[in-house]
Symmetry: C2
Subunit: 333 residues, 2 copies
DNA sequence: ATGAAAGCGCTAACAT
DNA sequence: ATGTTAGCGCTTTCAT
């Protein structure tokens, strides 16, 4: 342990017999430097255990490679998967994902605000609480912001989202094709843009096709919310033969309510369709038909949009829709 | 948009009519500065939209508040919850969690190595692949490392973990108390220290108490692994009346295999016990008895250990066990 | 309590 | 291609 202090570019320069700029160049990908010199420097660096101090580099370049990922309900299956894919993609591109899990919406602003001091390379928001003013602040500071499934009525930033209309229609078409005639859908009361959007679109599609569609409110998007909603409002939907669950998580609850609490048989008494295609939907006890959103695609679009804005801040704000695919399992005929 | 450039402490100093040192002190919690001066400075800062540049501060203090969180299988329910709690705890303590999801174990070293250049305040590893050499490197660089449920035979760092022996015994006692006589357990072949440890301890406890215990291998810890393991090795366990599933995720698969693939009835034909108490265990279709690990406690111990080592690097390496609680539901009598 | 001055370790213009 | 010279924006002795 002779080295208590990290060696600096100065040390390497001395050992390799070059200037500090040379050292810097040796560690900068596209720099103009002789291949031999570079090797010599790298070797010297290896030797004394030198590594570029990112902090210093960042200060100089005013760029940190840090990308804030703002996510709520981190332990829900979709979000967990989303975050996983997002971090992979970011890391692969050389970024460093800073995970900010929004607990109470109230402390998001302060938190995010403090993050800004890190000279973020970007920010990806997949939270529910759209920190409106914050987005503006980011824009002001030239920090690219990508919004995943956020309400488009809110301020700028690039967007990647599900087309609520398309989603609702696809859900309707899927159930209709399975023979459903009397529709119902769960409408979570926490008013998440994307979720509420597709449920409303689902209803609209049904009405437009000349069918009725009962909307029953749920406390939120959790398993329990779905389960309780069905139990509580059973009288309103007992005549229905098909129900759209808005999210798979809630739909698992819907299924359990139907089968275990209400003693219905799925799909013979009533058909059920979820949304997201989470892992649990494919589990034996549920075997749930769902609509799969392409999370991989979503994530790569988001990262690409960020990168694009980073290279050219004047790119017009983009809006991309991700693809949706029905996955038919045992809860539909 | 008159200000295209972020204001610096210099600007604040000029506006407030003080020196840059004063500005620095105004933004440093315990600094010796007159309350009035501080207010004046804060006001001026507000006015021109100044915020401390964390990058510069970090460079100076040689400390980022960045904590690397290394996690694998991010989309499994336990891990997702763990990461969520971890990030909350870290953020609450003023740290910034950098999420590194280990995809292929091969690129972990490079990744982590590059992270070290950020002058990490700490590292929390809850991954499966214990990046042995890396831990040493961290130690060398004085970066506190906390290992959650990692093999204790590996190099230093503070540890928070389940006591495998205690876990195995508790599982055995729980099933035994429910009347089980012929035991079986799933043993995932990916040799995760904590999981394999408790399964082996479970078997040891059974043998020690004079009961037999069949161990059946599973491909891993996933739902599918559990399900397939039971189907494949059914002949070996068909005579058993109690099975310990090692992890809840796999145990969901075990239950579905038993009920849907093999037509058994749980708990009358055979009782089932999981481990972790993930959310899905409580879902109606599973209603699974399990052993709950105290994730909140685990996380706060981990953060505390990190903080402790940060303040006093010479603290002897700590080892803490988290509490375990049986949660009895419908898959045991 | 405050200010002056000296870095923290690096990169980037500008010469050569 | 390489070295020289300035900073990046902040904190921190050291005086006062």
């Amino acid at each position: 342990m002779t080295d208590h202090k990290r060696p600096t570019s100065f040390d390497v320069a001395r050992v390799a017999g070059v200037s500090r700029s040379a050292v810097s160049r040796a560690f900068t990908p596209g720099a103009s430097i002789n291949a031999q010199t570079r090797e010599k420097i790298i070797a010297a660096a290896q030797d004394i255990g030198y590594r570029v101090n990112t902090l210093a580099r960042n200060l100089q370049t005013q760029e940190s490679q840090l990308v804030a990922v703002l996510a709520s309900r981190m332990d829900s299956p979709v979000r967990a998967r989303q975050v996983k894919l997002l971090t992979h993609a970011l890391i692969k591109e050389g970024y460093r994902p800073l995970l900010l899990t929004a607990e109470s919406a109230s402390d998001v602003p302060r938190l995010l605000s403090s993050m800004l001091d890190y000279c973020l390379s970007g920010m990806i928001v997949t939270s529910d609480s759209p920190p409106d003013a914050l987005i503006e602040e980011c824009a002001k500071l030239q920090v690219p912001v990508v919004l995943i499934n956020r309400d488009p009525s809110l301020a700028g930033g690039d967007r990647v989202q599900i087309d609520p209309k398309a989603a609702g229609h696809l859900a309707f078409d899927t159930l209709r094709a399975a023979g459903v005639q009397r529709f119902a859908a769960i409408l979570p009361q926490d008013k998440t843009y994307s979720v509420a959007g597709r449920v409303l679109a689902f209803q609209a599609a049904a009405l437009h096709a000349g069918f009725d569609c009962v909307l029953i409110p749920s406390e939120g998007q959790s398993y329990d919310a779905g389960r309780q909603a069905v139990i509580k409002h059973w009288d309103q939907i007992s005549h229905c033969d098909g129900i759209f669950g808005a999210t798979d998580l809630a739909t698992c609850g819907v299924l359990d309510a139907l089968r275990h609490d209400l003693g219905r048989s799925v799909p013979s008494d009533i058909q059920v369709l979820g949304f997201d295609d989470i892992e649990q939907a494919s589990w034996g006890s549920y075997n749930m038909s769902s609509i799969k959103q392409d999370l991989e695609g979503q994530v790569s679009m988001a990262v690409a949009a960020m990168r694009q804005r980073l290279t050219d801040p004047d790119t017009p704000a983009s809006l991309q829709y991700q693809t949706l695919t029905p996955v038919l399992r045992g809860t539909t005929k």
